[in-house]
């Protein structure tokens, strides 16, 4: 950093003739502009070729209204919509609520709690496919590991998990929680750490401890991060293909499938790509408002991460 010390010693030669306008208003000139454009060029290229073009192409493929009429008449599609709403609605909210509580637990300064955290984040590090395959084998059949444990430890015969639609849906949500809870817990731990210690101490002195401190001090400060996390996570979960595909595989008889799977099935099993695209696009009325709110939130407040 010697250049910085030099500058400090010599003063800034051009400080006098530079207009004192806010930095972001100052116009960008020649070389600098060229560099800035060169820096964003790779991303712009990726965005145009692999995001904008596919999305535009998808919109064009799903442009015919008759496709949506056809979807509305397919009982399987309607069932899938219900599954998706439950999977996303319960999964995301339960996950973030638990993450909020657990982040408080992991803030306690104990050595053994640090060790628990190191183990707790293992599911995040574990790639999704091996993890979900293992969970699949844990639950499948009459005597997977979980039923084996129930039998040995408690003498209870567990259910056949994938033989019932709601049970299978519950298993999918549990597997989803297992995989993604650690990531969001870590994010919320980071957000909690960003809260100035003085605020919490002031609350303590005023007698707000425990539940009250959480409700009136911690949570209001986390609210924005919590909202952004919920929105981002809703978007990602709506498009989650792997969890349901590997854990229940749609069992029993495709009754626990979600939207992202049925789209692919229409396109590649029945060879109706446009119908598949239409099934995916039918989630747009939910997705577009979320993305708009997300953009505004991130712009105006910023997210601490």
């Amino acid at each position: 950093m010697s250049f910085m010390q030099q500058t400090l010693a010599l003063g800034r030669p051009d400080a006098a003739d530079r207009p004192r306008r806010p930095r972001w208003r100052a116009p960008v000139h020649g070389v600098e502009l060229a560099w800035a454009l060169a820096f964003i060029a790779p991303y712009v290229a990726v965005f145009l070729a692999f995001v904008l073009y596919p999305i535009g192409y998808g919109l064009w493929m799903g442009r015919s209204p008759s496709l949506y009429a056809e979807l509305a008449q397919d009982p399987r599609y309607l069932q899938t919509v219900v599954n998706t709403a439950l999977f996303v609605g319960i999964g995301v909210n339960l996950k973030l609520f638990l993450a909020l509580l657990l982040s408080g637990f992991f803030m306690r300064r104990r050595r053994w709690i640090k060790a628990v955290l190191a183990i707790f984040i293992l599911p995040w590090a574990l790639p999704a496919i091996p993890a979900f395959l293992s969970i699949h084998w844990m639950l499948i059949g009459e005597r997977g590991l979980l039923d084996g444990l129930l039998e040995t430890l408690f003498g209870v015969g567990g259910p056949i998990w994938f033989n019932h639609r709601w049970l299978a849906l519950g298993c999918n949500i549990a597997a989803y929680l297992w995989k993604w809870l650690p990531f969001w817990t870590v994010i919320l731990i980071a957000a909690r750490m960003a809260i100035p210690q003085e605020l919490l101490e002031a609350a303590d002195i005023d007698g707000a401890t425990g539940m009250r401190r959480f409700l009136h001090v911690t949570f209001p400060l986390l609210a924005n991060v919590y909202l952004v996390c919920t929105l981002l996570s809703t978007i990602w979960t709506l498009g989650d293909f792997t969890t349901v595909y590997y854990v229940s595989g749609g069992a029993p008889s495709r009754s626990s499938e979600v939207l992202s799977i049925i789209g692919v099935r229409y396109a590649f099993d029945v060879a109706r790509p446009s119908l598949g695209v239409a099934a995916a696009l039918s989630a747009l009325p939910v997705l577009i408002p979320i993305v708009i709110v997300l953009m505004r939130r991130i712009q105006t407040r910023g997210v601490q991460l």
Partner: protein
């Protein structure tokens, strides 16, 4: 109860201690539950992989009776029908994962540098546009993407998968990098500029080193995304030459022999590289996610 306690305020102290003990006991219990919850599927993997026959999942056992490393040996020597090309597939997965990681870090950091650190007007437009990527989730775009890859002439090419992963990882990377970049004082850039440093030098010598924790976090995120992704790899890669482990592992379901021990052994071997990288970079990532060492 408050009436009973009213005369002397004394009983508060033992009460308090009791409460402390209760909280302590509850948190130990919670810790134990979390550890079991997190490790159970991992244990299940080992249980099945160490079984010689590969049918424990139907036997209801909770402990491997005769642990055998036969399945891992078979992977090492590729000594089984489904494992014939394992190391080649592994190399393909590694190529996709590392390329995605490197490109996401490079492209993301360049873009967030341009938006956050140069006086580019309307730079925020780029961040917003990047978020547009998430209007339609990746698994929904896969159908048009599949067709477009044909028209690009990238059918059955690993680059197509890398492109898809990078396209979906970079917006989140830009978001994180921009937030983190705000913690690095702009004065540093200005001082360097005054000394005649070009934007490339500022990017390379100042921005990147100071952003290291955030870059580690973003790189790991991209790697895990690519490593855990199945749909694009399955649809875009078809030949034996370009197949990845993620796709190959699914083929075990087609077998009549129920080689589940091989399948789980493959799953364990496949899970190792990201775990090593993840725990190796964890120190940096924790810093990247929690404000880091740079303070303005």
């Amino acid at each position: 109860m408050s009436v009973a306690l009213a005369p002397g305020r004394r009983p508060r102290r033992p009460h308090y201690r009791l409460r402390q003990a209760f909280v302590e006991a509850a948190s130990v219990l919670l810790g134990a539950v979390l550890v079991i919850w997190s490790l159970l599927p991992v244990y299940n993997m080992l249980l099945i992989a160490l079984d010689a026959e590969g049918d424990t999942e139907y036997a209801g056992i909770i402990w491997p009776p005769e642990p055998s490393f036969e399945s891992f040996k078979a992977i090492w020597t590729e000594d089984y029908w489904y494992l014939e090309h394992f190391w080649h597939q592994f190399a393909n997965s590694l190529y996709i994962g590392l390329a995605t990681m490197a490109l996401t870090v490079l492209i993301g950091s360049l873009a967030s540098f341009a938006v956050g650190r140069t006086r580019l007007r309307k730079g925020w437009l780029l961040t917003d546009a990047a978020l547009l990527t998430y209007v339609i989730p990746a698994s929904f775009v896969v159908i048009p993407f599949h067709r477009i890859i044909h028209s690009y002439g990238l059918t059955d090419n690993l680059i197509a998968v890398v492109a898809a992963e990078v396209a979906f990882a970079t917006p989140f990377a830009i978001l994180i990098l921009q937030q983190y970049g705000r913690l690095i004082p702009v004065e540093l850039d200005e001082a360097a500029r005054v000394d005649g440093a070009s934007p490339v030098q500022i990017y390379w010598r100042i921005y990147l080193p100071l952003m290291a924790p955030a870059l580690a976090a973003v790189g790991t995120y991209a790697l895990l995304l690519a490593w855990g992704e199945y749909l694009y790899q399955w649809l875009l890669l078809s030949s034996t030459r370009s197949m990845t482990v993620a796709v190959a592992i699914e083929q075990f379901f087609d077998s009549d022999e129920a080689p589940w021990n091989y399948m789980m052994a493959v799953a364990i071997v496949y899970a190792l590289p990201p775990i090593v990288i993840f725990y190796g970079l964890r120190r940096y990532m924790a810093a990247g996610l929690t404000r880091g060492g740079v303070k303005g």
